[in-house]
Assembly symmetry: C2
């Protein structure tokens, strides 16, 4: 990872984590609910979505901190989705990023409520922002609820659950990923571009970039499930195979999946060139996503 990106991530990850902490600890709610929300928000991870948002703003030479509230809302929604997806009736995962999952620590009922609370409060964070105009807030909420809702992330998770124990086509697998993870990644980039005053044409190129890194991200996820190191990825290697999930390697072979990953990376880099912005960090983020080992 290049130093410039590494420094950028260090700085803005810390800023984001401070902001999330402030948001959560100032909510007047039962202690245990706050703790459960905080536990999963702190469990951290790479914060790829906020970083994409910040890096997009920096491509326009804007101050990334102006995107903080959108980034925080985004990370809260991503986090809620992990908490609910890990539940026993869903993916039934005990570990997430190497730590016990929310319901393992707080119990199922509290995990469901913590997820509901993170989702709901994300919209409040945007609605009460002092940074954005009403027009910007409505744009952000409209897109975020689209990306996270039944026609986006929740629909993708539903399709994923339905697809378990079935042999999927590549088309069905892409439907799942475009919805389950793709749309929120697209929102990350588009929100950064929108808040920076991007033109309609620029927005479209950013969206294309995000679509391709979204798919690259997912393919790499599947590859890591085959060849990753358990201590690095923080969950059991081979867990997809054990659940009889269709994956890119299972549909395309491992080398076919790697080839597909490179294609998406190239298309992402091509799209970003067309934005005519100072997008060095976004290019490096694309490489980081495609080459990551965790």
């Amino acid at each position: 990872m290049a130093t410039q990106l590494s420094q950028f991530i260090d700085v803005y990850k810390a800023e984001l984590e401070t902001k999330l902490q402030t948001i959560i600890t100032t909510i007047a709610a039962p202690d245990i609910l706050i703790q459960a929300m905080d536990y999963s928000l702190q469990a951290g991870g790479k914060r790829i979505r906020p970083m994409l948002l910040f890096a997009t703003m920096s491509a326009f030479r804007k101050n990334p901190l102006m995107g903080m509230e959108a980034a925080a809302a985004l990370e809260m929604i991503h986090t809620y989705s992990l908490v609910h997806d890990d539940l026993p009736s869903m993916d039934d995962d005990d570990l997430r990023r190497g730590k016990p999952t929310n319901h393992k620590v707080f119990g199922e009922a509290t995990a469901i409520l913590a997820g509901d609370a993170l989702l709901t409060h994300a919209f409040k964070v945007i609605a009460q922002s002092k940074e954005y105009s009403n027009e910007q807030k409505v744009w952000l909420i409209d897109w975020l609820s689209q990306a996270a809702g039944p026609a986006g992330m929740v629909g993708g998770q539903m399709a994923d659950m339905e697809g378990e124990h079935k042999q999927l086509t590549l088309e069905e697998l892409e439907y799942i990923h475009k919805h389950k993870t793709g749309q929120l990644l697209e929102f990350s980039v588009m929100a950064g571009a929108f808040l920076s005053g991007a033109t309609e044409a620029q927005l479209q190129h950013f969206q294309t970039y995000a679509k391709h890194i979204g798919l690259a991200f997912q393919i790499q996820d599947d590859i890591l499930d085959v060849e990753g190191l358990e201590e690095k990825i923080g969950k059991r290697v081979g867990s997809d195979v054990n659940k009889h999930k269709s994956t890119y390697p299972s549909l395309l072979t491992l080398s076919g999946a790697k080839e597909k990953l490179q294609e998406h990376l190239s298309q992402a880099l091509e799209a970003i060139e067309k934005t005519n912005t100072d997008a060095e960090l976004l290019k490096k983020l694309a490489h980081l996503i495609a080459d990551r080992d965790q």
Copy 2:
């Protein structure tokens, strides 16, 4: 129930249900998710929250249909909360309004996702409305996310779960109800008043009215759990006692609870007088809530 209110409810309940149907069936999402969302939305009930919103608008002699999108969002959020509350790890209810609960029909995973989808899409319904200005949308989303979130409904449900199998004080019981059901009822009335251009003083009187009918509603709920008819209330009579839940009758005796109910009804009616609006329907709704047998 007076004829005027009865007609009003018939007309606007039908309008609301048509709107909800349109909203749900036009979402591009997996069929099973749409079915699960639709199932619980159609399970209906009294639609008290939308009716409060519509009746408040009519107190200002505004067209209630201008509040339709806020009312639909409100009902979607109320419905999601019922779907999640009924889950095995929460209240574990098999019946809701006399019909099998969502997870009994669709399974737990789908019920969780249908709830998540209803919650998320509710914000989209407001954000994409053609009826409201951006300022109105932000106001609605800010209040709705407050009322439904960790400092509101979700926090109330958390406190309710924590309070099971414990002897609560009246204060603790009121905390639960003010949050679990009260805030969303307050939002119903305040949204109607806000969309009608209420003054700050009027908003406060409407809020006071809503606070008291919220508590009256809950006390009557507890009373019905003791003396209601199973086929009318659509769940098992005595289910609170069986779950060792603290209730108004258990804390105040049955006659004490009935007295408290009348106090809240009087205070609601007093507050509504102060709004200086044509609030005949809201008064009748208050009586309906306090005297209902289901």
